[in-house]
């Protein structure tokens, strides 16, 4: 077994009362594309800053490429390329000049730097704009220049913090494709943080779900889905209206009706939970019980206006976890 390239053990970061990162354990292996998924303020950025030694952990241990970022920041920074969200450049310099400046800071000889900058600008599709001042760049161009800037030092690890924020969908796809291609071609380990689930799903080998400073699950998307919804993989949504249509508020269910129906649904075997929100019953069950639900409604003299069976997709995983996250927040 190879030494993991990033190893975080029992990491915590406190800001006064607030625990931004709470007892985090995480390992990332070489060549992996790891997605750090979580809502805003979940502690993703803080974790990344600690990986780079840009902020000190309150507790715990971080090893990047075998080095501690707090005590040996240079060794880590030599090996890790970091693209912050909304990366900034020196606006009155051209894109190429900005790249060469970074190259110089990494002690890359001028000739090599020029050659490499040319290559990278070509890869990210900015060759035509290389001589323009970065002040005139669009958001997407800046982000692509940022990727070139990260790659110019030829790092074995790159960390991207919300790299696709504010880029149009086409741009996002190209950007992510580029990252995946680079990772596969050159064996670069990528840590990508995002709150865009679909993008993460598109590119990542493995995903960590990050809520309230804790990593509540990690694994590939399939594994996450089976783990989380092991107990209730099916969801039936049913729209029901009252049979007595002659009443003034035609079709609306009284509270009594709702209670009765909820009780009835609960009696169906394998049903785990029933809720009524937004004029819809949501019935979560272990087995597919759609026919039973339909029969129950009709047999008791109600009208079935809508019936659909849902498989849990990524959105549900996401929502599910974030609801949990909120609960964590309340209890903590």
């Amino acid at each position: 077994m190879q030494e993991p390239i990033i190893k975080i053990t029992a990491l915590s970061k406190r800001y006064g009362e607030l625990k931004a990162v709470d007892n985090l354990d995480l390992t990332i292996d070489k060549g992996e594309v790891f997605g750090l998924l979580g809502p805003n303020g979940a502690g993703k950025s803080t974790t990344i800053l600690m990986l780079l030694g840009l902020t000190e952990p309150s507790q715990g241990n971080v090893r990047v490429c075998g080095f501690d970022p707090t005590s040996r920041p240079l060794e880590v920074k030599k090996r890790v390329g970091y693209l912050p969200d909304d990366v900034g450049f020196y606006d009155d310099r051209s894109g190429l000049e900005n790249l060469l400046f970074t190259a110089q800071l990494n002690r890359i000889p001028k000739a090599d730097a020029l050659r490499r900058a040319g290559q990278l600008l070509d890869q990210v599709g900015l060759t035509a704009d290389a001589q323009k001042r970065t002040g005139t760049y669009s958001r997407g161009m800046r982000q692509r220049l940022g990727l070139a800037d990260v790659l110019i030092k030829n790092p074995p690890v790159i960390i991207l913090d919300e790299p696709t924020l504010g880029i149009d969908p086409q741009g996002v796809r190209e950007f992510l494709d580029l990252i995946v291609r680079l990772s596969k071609e050159q064996g670069i380990t990528v840590l990508l943080s995002s709150h865009h689930l679909h993008q993460v799903q598109q590119v990542c080998d493995r995903v960590g779900l990050f809520v309230g400073g804790r990593l509540i699950a990690d694994g590939n998307i399939d594994a996450l889905s089976t783990r989380l919804f092991a107990m209730e993989p099916f969801m039936v949504e049913a729209g029901v209206s009252a049979a007595d249509t002659s009443a003034t508020d035609a079709g609306a269910l009284s509270q009594h009706d709702i209670d009765v129906l909820t009780g009835l649904f609960r009696d169906i075997p394998d049903v785990r939970s029933v809720s009524y929100t937004g004029e819809l019953f949501r019935i979560a069950c272990r087995q597919d019980q759609t026919p039973a639900v339909a029969r129950t409604v009709i047999d008791h003299g109600y009208l079935l206006t809508l019936l659909q069976k849902k498989r849990y997709g990524l959105d549900e995983i996401y929502h599910r976890y974030f609801e949990n996250g909120k609960n964590y927040g309340k209890t903590a």
Binding site: P73, L74, G81, V87, Q104
Partner: protein
């Protein structure tokens, strides 16, 4: 025989010359290796140290920035203006007739005035802080706001490189500027009055330039401190200007008010002359907490060799003294505390900003 001798002498001479050349070449190479390479040197292919990369970039930024160009032209203009008035007043026999100053003709270029404009030294006392503040007030926070700080600090450089390099770059620019300005003024004066400065005068001028650099360096470091502490460049600029205004305008007023309240009343002063000099001394000491006062004390001493003390002198001390100018060394000894004070204040500001910057959390904007 003679020819042989000649030949051997020539060959040994050649050998000596060759070895000397080799020696010079290796020494030069060593010196070049030690020298900070501000510009890319074709002599060596080894890349620059990151510290000097940042320094040269910062210097480039300063020199290109509008802010610097505007201030530079302002300072140049006022200096030439005051030079003009100084030349006017030097032309009149009244100024040359006063005591020992007459022999230090050249220094009067920097201190003399015909009353229409303040002298060169007083102008620098006033504009120097502005320059220092302008160069430092957004040193760190603008990087933070542009989002370049986290990108920069994720490169393999020590965190203090950034702060040191910014300070170094600004100081180098300031040093270059004031050295050039003093030399240009000297040159123009030379052209107009036609008398070259004596070596003593030249040393005094260099000391004056050094003093000015240290003085502006203090304000620069203070501005950098605010740029680390305040996130908004506007806040840090305003705070720095507020401190400057307080120290130059309000602080002396406050001291005078305080002294008026606490000083013994004039009737008793006549009886105890010692108390007069005592209270005068306290006032001066209090005033010297303001860097502007230190600077003006020091410039006065350096540029007016007849000034022999910065405190009040009693009649006993003056009695028997011949109103001769002091030698350069003595003048420098007199300003030594002022110079050290300015350096200490600048260093304190730098240390504070260093301390708060090193522990700062660098978030992307």
């Amino acid at each position: 025989m003679a020819k042989l001798l000649d030949g051997s002498a020539a060959s040994s001479l050649r050998a000596i010359r060759a070895s000397a050349a080799r020696e010079i070449r290796t020494t030069a190479a060593r010196v070049i290796r030690l020298l900070p390479r501000a510009a890319h040197s074709p002599l060596t292919s080894r890349p620059k140290h990151p510290f000097w990369v940042i320094v040269s970039k910062e210097m480039g930024d300063h020199i290109r920035s509008w802010r610097f160009i505007i201030l530079l032209s302002l300072i140049a203009l006022t200096c030439f203006g005051s030079l003009y008035t100084a030349l006017n007043s030097i032309g009149t026999p009244k100024a040359t007739g006063t005591g020992g100053n007459a022999s230090f003709f050249f220094l009067q270029l920097f201190t003399a005035t015909d009353g229409t404009l303040p002298s060169f030294a007083i102008f620098l006392n006033f504009l120097g802080p502005l320059l220092g503040i302008a160069m430092g007030f957004d040193a760190v926070n603008s990087e933070l706001n542009r989002g370049t700080l986290s990108r920069l600090l994720s490169q393999p450089i020590h965190r203090d490189y950034l702060l040191n390099a910014k300070c170094m770059a600004s100081l180098l620019v300031i040093a270059g500027l004031f050295l050039a300005l003093t030399l240009v003024t000297t040159g123009l004066g030379l052209l107009v009055i036609g008398i070259p400065p004596t070596p003593a005068e030249f040393i005094r001028l260099l000391a004056f330039t050094l003093l000015t650099i240290v003085y502006v360096g203090f304000w620069l470091n203070m501005a950098i401190l605010f740029s680390v502490r305040f996130r908004q460049p506007a806040t840090s600029a305003l705070t720095a200007i507020a401190v400057w205004l307080f120290l130059t305008v309000f602080y002396p007023i406050l001291i005078r008010l305080a002294v008026k309240a606490f000083a013994p009343d004039p009737s008793s002063m006549a009886i105890f002359p010692a108390s007069i000099s005592g209270s005068e001394r306290t006032v001066l000491d209090m005033l010297r907490f303001a860097p502007g006062q230190l600077y003006s004390d020091a410039t006065t001493t350096l540029l007016m060799p007849v000034v022999r003390s910065l405190g009040p002198l009693s009649m006993d001390q003056v009695a028997g003294a011949i109103p001769n100018p002091l030698p350069v060394g003595e003048s420098i000894v007199i300003v030594w505390p002022q110079l050290t004070g300015l350096i200490a204040a600048a260093t304190a500001c730098f240390a504070l900003s260093y301390r708060s910057f090193m522990r700062k959390e660098i978030r992307p904007r």
